[in-house]
């Protein structure tokens, strides 16, 4: 073996989990928590080691990637699964930013979680999350991916409800977990469908690609489109759950109940993008399924637009970012829906940087305001926390697509790909996407203006305590801000940089070529798109400046730091739709409870009554005397023998 073993990558976070978990459990009874220095060092060390391994592997990776089978997992007739890892262009990108941003955010958390009683527990969860995420990304089969998929879901649940003294946090955690379960059922059923179509070898990504190639080669695509569409749709349901798309998006805004680093790491940068990752992984399958792709485009489009509008109405700084995450995920799905998987993953990559930076900045703001999350009580912070403000403004420029920043390259790429994807559909979706970009610029501008400009609207008392975050928090933020500025240059089409596309080509290139062969793209000048995108960003920023810098924002009174608004207002409309679904299910359940169960019980009672009557009848024959019973049995034997003899049994 010439390269490092792949299982080193998940190994380090796993060791970290075990060590930190042990520390957390051991110290749980103690009056004082464990040493924060020790825990923090361990918590950053293991993800960083993992990142180092990824970096070394990434540099030495050949074009085809590394494949490694660790051991056999399940081996029964009709089903065989191995624990194997696959390190190629796609997992390289994902792993680089998962472990890299994970390490940075772990570092940031040392400052953010300072003094929290569950310090060690928090980092144990974070390491467990990284382990699961690495397994999800690195797995070479759907089954192992599903293991990581469930693992990150579990960690998301644990971390949203991290401050479990508050029932609201627990409810938010439950909601995230349960809504994700709905999606996971889709994933599971999708795997079952694939196994039904072509056996367990289809669960392996290489096996699936080989199968699709074989199908294309044999010209049997038409026969298989229907079952594959079913599988694709089911996988897409799984993706909507994990990536908070319509209709399963209500959990992500509520998930902001968790600590802010968690929101940054799990609910913005890494976990929620695993749906996009899965689509890219299964690109060979999806490129054949035009109807499913159409659904994906529309779901992504509506999610992006709707979340952007919802983001306009939020007052909680984290909620705004949550909606913007959903909106950006909508972009990624739109791109995946036109089979532009490389652009989609590129947006995942750049988004991870600027959204993590935004969240960390928001966390730093919340930290400096001693837990205040309501933007109506912020303002004018640029003078007091200049570094945080700069980081957030850079990230803001990136997310709105200001020329030169990361979001500009990736978002415009997506919009361009969408436009050229079809003669009618493409322009429609493009217009909606562009409108979304304008709205994005408006609500992000609102966030920046309300937080950093104008006058401080909070209490005098808190104003005196406003302080810049400690260096351990600022350092990761600054790095991420650099990422937000420069990560776009990995693939800057206009100036001829295509490193990212070349890197992804080995994974999704074939699928995209198949799609392009079926849907030839019109050739257009990319400069027009860049200009339009820039115009959208500038227009949105201008609107935001006009509206929100003049508008007299009413500072809320009262001491409550809990954000205003009920769950319904946070999630706009979809909670009601979910409630309607739940009501229908409740009615069904009531029907089952009252009617079906009663009928079943009646049947059950009838049978029981018959048996009882028979038993009573038989018990009349039972007598007290043992001897009499013996006599009966002897007589019975006599009868049996008689029967046998006279029926000719012993001829």
């Amino acid at each position: 073996m010439t390269h490092l073993p792949l299982w080193f990558i998940p190994l380090f976070p796993l060791i970290g989990t075990i060590l930190l978990g042990t520390i957390a459990v051991v110290s749980s009874g103690a009056k004082k928590g464990p040493s924060e220095g020790l825990v923090g060092t361990l918590a950053v060390l293991f993800p960083a080691l993992s990142f180092a391994v990824v970096a070394i592997l990434a540099c030495s990776m050949p074009e085809a990637g590394f494949r490694e089978t660790l051991c056999n997992w399940i081996d029964i007739p009709l089903f065989r699964a191995d624990i194997g890892f696959l390190f190629d262009g796609l997992s390289r990108i994902m792993l680089l930013f998962v472990t890299g941003i994970g390490s940075l955010i772990a570092m940031y958390s040392i400052g953010y979680m300072h003094g929290d009683r569950g310090f060690a527990r928090f980092f144990a969860y974070i390491n467990l999350f990284l382990f699961s995420m690495v397994v999800l990304v690195l797995a070479d089969s759907l089954l192992l991916t599903f293991l990581g998929w469930e693992g990150v879901g579990l960690c998301s649940y644990l971390l949203i409800g991290f401050w479990n003294q508050d029932i609201k946090n627990c409810k938010a955690a439950n909601k995230a977990f349960i809504v994700n379960r709905v999606g996971d059922i889709g994933f599971l059923l999708g795997m079952l469908t694939l196994v039904t179509i072509g056996g367990s070898s289809l669960l392996n990504y290489d096996g699936l690609a080989a199968f699709i190639n074989m199908v294309i080669g044999a010209g049997e695509v038409v026969e298989l489109v229907l079952p594959l569409s079913l599988a694709g749709l089911l996988f897409f349901i799984g993706c909507t759950g994990k990536s908070a798309q319509i209709p399963l998006l209500t959990w992500l805004p509520d998930a902001m109940a968790g600590p802010t680093p968690v929101s940054a790491l799990i609910h913005a940068a890494t976990m929620v993008t695993s749906g996009v990752y899965l689509l890219a992984r299964l690109s060979m399958m999806f490129c054949l399924l035009e109807h499913v792709l159409l659904i994906i485009v529309f779901v992504g489009m509506f999610t992006a637009l709707w979340a952007a509008i919802a983001g306009l109405l939020q007052n909680d700084i984290k909620k705004v970012l949550a909606y913007s995450t959903i909106s950006q995920l909508g972009y990624m799905f739109m791109a995946a829906g036109v089979c532009a998987f490389d652009a989609s993953i590129f947006h995942v990559f750049t988004h991870a940087f600027f959204k993590a930076a935004l969240f960390l900045g928001a966390g730093a703001v919340i930290h400096s305001l001693a837990g205040e999350q309501d933007m109506r009580r912020m303002g004018g912070l640029i003078n007091k926390t200049p570094v945080t403000a700069c980081v957030m403004i850079f990230a803001f420029l990136a997310i709105v697509g200001f020329p030169g920043f990361a979001g500009f390259w990736s978002k415009d790429l997506i919009l361009e790909r969408i436009f050229v994807s079809g003669p009618i559909l493409g322009p429609i979706v493009y217009v909606v996407g562009l409108a979304t970009a304008v709205i994005t610029a408006v609500y992000m501008g609102r966030l920046i203006i309300m937080t950093f400009f104008g006058k401080y609207r909070g209490d005098k008392e808190t104003e005196e305590h406003i302080h810049e975050a400690p260096a351990v928090m600022l350092f990761p933020m600054v790095i991420l801000a650099f990422g937000a500025i420069f990560s776009g240059y990995l693939w800057a089409d206009s100036i001829g940089l295509t490193f990212f596309r070349d890197s992804m080509a080995s994974v999704v290139g074939q699928a995209q070529a198949i799609y392009l062969a079926a849907n030839p793209a019109a050739h257009v000048n990319p400069v027009i798109f860049a200009a339009l995108g820039t115009l959208a960003a500038l227009g949105g920023m201008y609107i935001a400046w006009k509206v929100f810098s003049r508008a007299r924002i009413i500072g809320v009174k009262g001491a409550s730091t809990v954000p205003e608004g009920s769950a319904a207002s946070w999630t706009f409309l979809w909670d009601y739709i979910h409630c309607a679904f739940i009501a229908v299910v409740n009615i069904l359940a009531w029907f089952c409870d009252v009617v079906v169960e009663k009928v079943l019980q009646a049947i059950q009672w009838t049978i029981a009554a018959i048996v009882e009557i028979l038993g009573d009848g038989a018990s009349i024959l039972q007598v007290r005397k043992v001897r009499l019973q013996l006599s009966f049995s002897v007589a019975g034997v006599a009868l049996l023998v008689m029967l046998v003899i006279f029926s000719g049994g012993l001829v």
Binding site: V623, R624, K625, R627, L630
Partner: protein, 104 residues
Amino acid sequence: MELQPLYIQILALVIFAIGIIVAVARRNLFFVLMGVELALNAVNLSFVGFAKTLPAEASVTGQIVPLFSIAVAAAEACVGFAMVIMIFRNKESVDADSYSDMKG
């Protein structure tokens, strides 16, 4: 007229029938146990009688099984009489019908 194996079987059958009748019909516990012994003896006799109709090696088998059966009967008698002693202590009676405490 020679001795036929059938005669042995008929004898075994008669003794077995008497044994069962003694075991079930008599109310005294001692007779119950003696009846069981009698029935066991009849079965042993039947074994030996059948063994004699078989060729060499197989016939030895037919004579070894009664050996085990006798040993089991000894164990049975041992435990059985111990139980009689115990029950007699509680009931002060050897009437089998007085041992009907189980509901039925």
